[in-house]
Amino acid sequence: MRKAQGSWEKRILKSLNSMCTELSIPLARKRPVGEQKELLSKWNEMGTDEPDLSLFRPVYAPKDFLEVLINLRNPNYENGDSLSFRTHLGLIQVPLKVKDIPELKEFFVELGLTTGQLGIDDSTQVPPELFENEHVRIGQKVLAEQDGAAAQQYIRQGSPTALRADLWALILNISSQPEDILYYEQLKTNVIQHDLLVDSLIYKDVKLTASNDDYYFVFEDYLYQVLLCFSRDTSVLGHFAYNSASPPKSYIRGKLGLEEYAVFYPPNGVIPFHGFSMYVAPLCFLYHEPSKLYQIFREMYVRFFFRLHSISSHPSGIVSLCLLFETLLQTYLPQLFYHLREIGAQPLRISFKWMVRAFSGYLATDQLLLLWDRILGYNSLEILAVLAAAVFAFRAVNLMEVTSLAAAEAVLADLSTLKVMPLLQIFLFATVT
């Protein structure tokens, strides 16, 4: 796994470097004073800037990453040439251990049919006295006690809208201390003083994705403020201790190969890819204070999101998620899986982008937030794979009738009307297996 991650990183870095030489833009440079002043005055409305980004391309897109994952092979594992009913027909050919539905039922026990959920039991037909009022009351109590562990348990049933911002902050252990605000201001100063090549990549990504989204375009300015600071935050390097990835290095001009002159580039070690800004966008709904928004995002990234674009064997890593998704589909919806495979529409090709982005930009915001509640509550991303499988199960009838990858994509193009919790419940607890 590490080898694969290493070679993937080399590829990304190569791509970044070649873009750099092609466009003759330095990876980093100090801004002239005039430019610094200008940026400072425009800090709150960077979205109005329209720099020429046409020559920049995103370093990579999720589908490039998927190709890499598909080609992963364990050299120690002998698959055997004969096909049997055990053969995995999906794209991922790495034999990692993933949970099956009985194990998932146990893991996600609070999502069961007999437990109240926000996203289901707060609908208009259900009188609030049955579940919602009590649940809100408990939430307020948890917040009053500032009990992080209780909050994590509580949020498995969903968070009331009014309490969500505080609950997430409690679970992620974010409290806005003066040091934190100071740290953020320092990062902001770094942004003003130095210009990085990745800044342009960030600009381009925001313009391409969040700005074009009907619901997130409003938060464009916040996205720049968060992501530009993020790329200069060296404290993020700390997460590489438990990440199979390593941060890319760059060398001061003329000193190639000399370790004393190596720096991490970008300073936080994370090269943004196409769609990266969508990790931040939903958070803008909850947090309006830039330094708090920043902290929440950073914590979400180093706890969860980094696993979605690095190759590892962790159960919440993207490889495991893909395998979990494919296994669920192959085991519990074999007819659908086989049909899609036959017409050249491997399900993972469609669901990969959902999972890499943690469904951001695909689901309606309120549904997305309910989903991310559960990610925090269970401290695991496996729910993304389960939801992806549940979506396929939900649209199975239509999918059985399609005859091409394009048609399958069309059936699954619009997820904005889906209600996440009922789908998950039906798939895990109400389907006859």
Partner: protein, 461 residues
């Protein structure tokens, strides 16, 4: 134009609940070619008539109404989509006059506190007749911004902001052309009178006259609520089936329209910042057609709830209910309440940073053109439900409190959410039957509604 009477038909008002004859087909007419046409054409049993054919239902435009309403005979069952003198509500100068009068009346009858509930429109003065009153108010509040709006135009045309009296003195002298942007249509060659009829003018008159068109000067709301640094206003749909008695329905869906650029008071001349009409935004250099500057009201309501908590949101929305009801009450006695008429209004509401809603204006012909897929679906559903409430097919009993996405907001008195609860009289507190920005599960509701209506019919026949 006369029409032959239909002998089989028995007319009645919807609220009486008497039996009505079903018509074999309903002939409709309209000049609009957007979502409305789609809805009308797809409605079962509805047939389009063109040109001079007889019709049972006409979704007309206001100019036709002005010219033809007074000499058109309509059978009892016939419906038309405007009230004869809707401009009492929709023209800014008339609305202001009616509201001011209503407020005074309230103060006389129920005291200052009650009258204060009508303080939802920014201080407005009609020009040029109230110019001196305006100057007095202007002098009392130096440094604030004012907005000048033409009385009868739409889509943001002709609007400008000012802070100095000098700016409008120029305008009064007829040099206003410099202030107005390129969006402005050239000054009308013929004078447009408040009644709407056009007068021809000889070419001699034109060079000396200032535009006779009426304007209103209104206090500009300098502290609008901003989301992402941007200003927005809300578009809400209210369906009025009659004024005497007052019967009004509120649609659950609507949208917030965002300005494309960040809000700042320093750029008064930047029309794009301050005006949130989509028509104006479409010409802004920042505008990307794909972006869609609209948020559905559900999204807006959720955003506010997560930021301010549910109670604050409840208060805001019930303040908005107050705006709708009182604005309609203020013109109740003035509008000719012809039983053939109904009207779908588009209310424009601005929220300030203290979460107080302000009424900007009421539109008698809200845009029915869709700017995006989501917008299209909203308008289709809105129009379908409007036709359900108008009920040409005579299916409703008249006792319904909800039809699809419409909630009955006012039925000659407040309508309570609870079943069987006493309706409180007068204009006191009421827990209205409104669900603006709430979930609109109209398909389910309509299915249940029509199913039960059908079984009721079977039972009684």
């Amino acid at each position: 134009m006369s029409r032959p009477k239909n002998q089989n038909y028995k007319g009645h008002g919807l609220s009486k609940g008497k039996e009505r004859e079903q018509r074999a087909s309903i002939r409709f007419k309209t000049t609009l070619i957007n979502t409305l046409m789609d809805v009308l054409r797809h409605r079962p049993g509805w047939v389009e008539v063109k040109d001079e054919g007889e019709w049972d239902f006409y979704w007309c435009d206001v100019s036709w109404l002005r010219e033809n309403f007074d000499h058109t005979y309509m059978d009892e069952h016939v419906r038309i989509s405007h009230f004869r003198n809707h401009y009492e509500l929709t023209r800014k100068n008339y609305m202001v006059k009616n509201l001011k009068r209503f407020r005074k009346q309230l103060e006389r009858e129920a005291g200052k506190l009650e009258a204060a509930k009508c303080d939802f429109f920014p201080k407005t003065f009609e020009m040029p007749c109230e110019y001196h009153l305006f100057v007095e108010e202007f002098r009392k509040n130096p440094g604030i911004t004012w907005i000048m709006k033409p009385v009868a135009r739409s889509q943001g045309k002709g609007i400008f902001l000012f802070r100095r009296l000098k700016d409008i003195m120029d305008w009064r002298k007829g040099t206003a052309g410099k202030k107005l942007t390129s969006l402005e249509a050239p000054p009308a060659r013929s004078a447009v009178n408040p009644s709407g009829s056009h007068d021809a003018r000889s070419s001699d008159d034109q060079k000396d006259e200032i535009p006779v068109e009426n304007y209103v000067a209104q206090r500009y709301i300098e502290n609008p609520y901003l989301i992402g640094g941007r200003k927005f206003d809300l578009r809400v749909y209210v369906l009025v089936m009659s004024y005497l008695p007052l019967r009004a329905w509120l649609y659950r869906d609507g949208f917030a329209r965002f300005s494309n650029t960040r809000f700042t008071l320093s750029s008064i001349d930047d029309q794009y910042v301050h005006l949130t009409n989509v028509a104006v935004q479409k010409t802004s250099p920042d505008y990307h057609a794909k972006k869609g500057c609209k948020w559905m009201l559900q999204r807006f309501r959720q955003y506010l709830a997560s930021k301010h908590g549910p109670e604050a949101v409840e208060t805001l929305f019930s303040d908005m209910d107050n705006i709708f009801v009182r604005s309609l009450q203020s013109v109740q006695k003035v509008i000719i309440s012809d039983k053939h008429c109904f009207e779908l209004y588009g209310y424009d509401i601005l929220i300030d940073e203290n979460l107080k809603p302000w009424l900007l204006e009421v539109n008698a012909s809200p845009s029915l053109t869709a700017s995006s897929q989501e917008d299209y679906e909203l308008k289709i559903c809105l129009l379908e439900d409007t036709l359900h409430v108008v009920d040409m097919e005579a299916r409703l009993t008249g006792r319904e409190k909800r039809v699809g996405g419409f909630d009955l907001m006012w039925n000659d008195g407040p309508v309570s959410r609870e079943e069987g609860a006493p309706d409180l009289s007068g204009m006191g507190n009421f827990v209205t039957n409104t669900h603006l920005g709430c979930i609109n599960d109209r398909n389910n509701q309509l299915r249940q509604l029509f199913r039960s209506l059908q079984s009721q019919k079977k039972a009684s026949s």
